[in-house]
């Protein structure tokens, strides 16, 4: 086969260009993500004690919160740190600007959610940490792969739900965590609502289709009634994230937890194993589990 002289030149130039153009992996060292605070440790800050610390104590210990609720009923403190990774950079020949093709990075996200009663005393506090390992295109900034502050949502999205669960029926009962967009299995159907865990009991409130009141109490299980909490059977409608709660009398209930769709997005609501795990951990930590 005969290659024209001009074609050979082009081929040679192309070969040289390809040889000079390189994909260079650049290691990324650990660092704090730009704009993030750095004063969150690997556990709940000691200054936050449920039933004792005040809003003032929290503010003077941690500084301004990253997010605050209406009437300062809740604060969140959030941090993001890169644990390192690699960035693949395309280096063109000559003096052209290098371009990042992709970034693989581990980013550790931490969040502390603190809730206060009307007197400004801490009623519940929650610490969460998650490491996201993601490929992302080019120089795009890291984004959390989970919604660590999902527990804040009930207050932001349905304060009446939160208020009713916070009341409780026992003296000294305090809200420990809340899970909006939970689902409760009744017969063959799943009922949308919210689950609340206080320091004494578990509540499930269903959601009325529209208007106020937005919720109705479906059940309240005291700690003594909860014989077992574990993963439930696979349910096609709820996916694998089904939690089984067995009463002391042997009866069994199923709950599922949905991932909250981001506000303003078209993301569909899917069932979320992470929230289900958090629910189980919270229930296991409630006081007086006399049947376990």
């Amino acid at each position: 086969m005969t290659v024209p002289r001009g074609g050979r030149r082009i081929a040679a130039a192309l070969a040289i260009t390809l040889a000079l153009t390189a994909c260079v992996p650049i290691p990324l060292l650990s660092h704090t993500v730009t704009g993030s605070r750095e004063n969150l440790g690997d556990s709940m800050p000691g200054a936050i004690v449920e039933g004792k610390s005040t809003r003032e104590d929290v503010l003077l210990a941690l500084g301004e919160p990253d997010r605050r609720g209406i009437d300062d009923r809740w604060f969140t403190y959030e941090s993001a740190s890169s644990l390192g990774g690699v960035q693949v950079v395309l280096v063109p020949p000559g003096y052209a600007e290098p371009a990042a093709l992709a970034t693989r990075e581990e980013v550790r996200y931490r969040v502390v959610v603190v809730r206060f009663d009307p007197q400004g005393v801490v009623t519940a506090a929650h610490f969460a940490e998650h490491v996201c390992r993601q490929w992302r295109p080019g120089f795009e900034e890291a984004h959390p792969c989970v919604d660590l502050a999902a527990g804040v949502e009930p207050i932001a999205r349905g304060s009446s739900l939160d208020a009713r669960a916070t009341l409780g029926s026992e003296a000294g009962e305090r809200l420990r965590d809340s899970f909006i967009d939970a689902a409760y299995r009744r017969g063959d159907h799943w009922i949308d609502g919210a689950a609340f865990v206080t320091n004494r009991a578990v509540y499930f409130l269903d959601r009325a289709a529209q208007g106020e009141p937005v919720s109705r109490l479906v059940f309240r299980w005291s700690a003594a009634e909860i014989a077992e909490i574990a993963w439930g059977d696979f349910d096609a409608a709820a996916g694998a994230a089904t939690v089984r709660m067995r009463h002391a009398d042997g009866s069994v209930e199923l709950l599922a937890f949905k991932r909250l769709a981001l506000a303003g997005s078209d993301d569909s609501v899917v069932f979320d194993r992470t929230r289900a795990e958090r629910f189980m951990d919270t229930v296991r930590s409630i006081e007086n589990p006399s049947t376990r």
């Binding site: 704009g35 605070r37 750095e38 809003r55 003077l60 500084g63 301004e64 300062d72």
Partner: protein, 108 residues
């Protein structure tokens, strides 16, 4: 002549570099704060508008950075970029400083 010109250029570079890196912070910026003495109005007069307020102005927050000269006030923003510290001030019902802390939000 040539040597003098070089020296002058070097001096000019030195002066300009000094201007760029001149510390603007003040070591004594927060020295006036005394618990049980300092009033909220004095804080506002000296430090200006706080970055945020809580409990009807009972608690004020200011954002600060630090350079070799001392502390510098930082304008409030949506992120912690450029901020090293949060000055948190809690006042009593009479507006007198009761407690205060300097929280290190980001490592200097």
């Amino acid at each position: 002549m040539r040597f003098s010109l070089g020296l002058a250029a070097l001096a000019l570079v030195g002066v300009l570099t000094a201007c760029v890196n001149a510390p603007v912070g003040r070591q004594d910026l927060l020295d006036f704060l005394q618990e049980g003495v300092t009033h909220r109005e004095e804080v506002r007069m000296r430090l200006g508008e706080p970055s945020s307020q809580y409990e009807s102005d009972r608690i004020l927050a200011f954002r600060l950075a630090k350079d070799s000269g001392g502390y510098v006030l930082v304008k409030p923003g949506n992120t912690w970029s450029g901020v090293g510290y949060n000055l948190m001030l809690a006042f009593d019902d009479d507006g007198v400083l009761r407690r205060h802390t300097l929280v290190e939000v980001r490592a200097p």
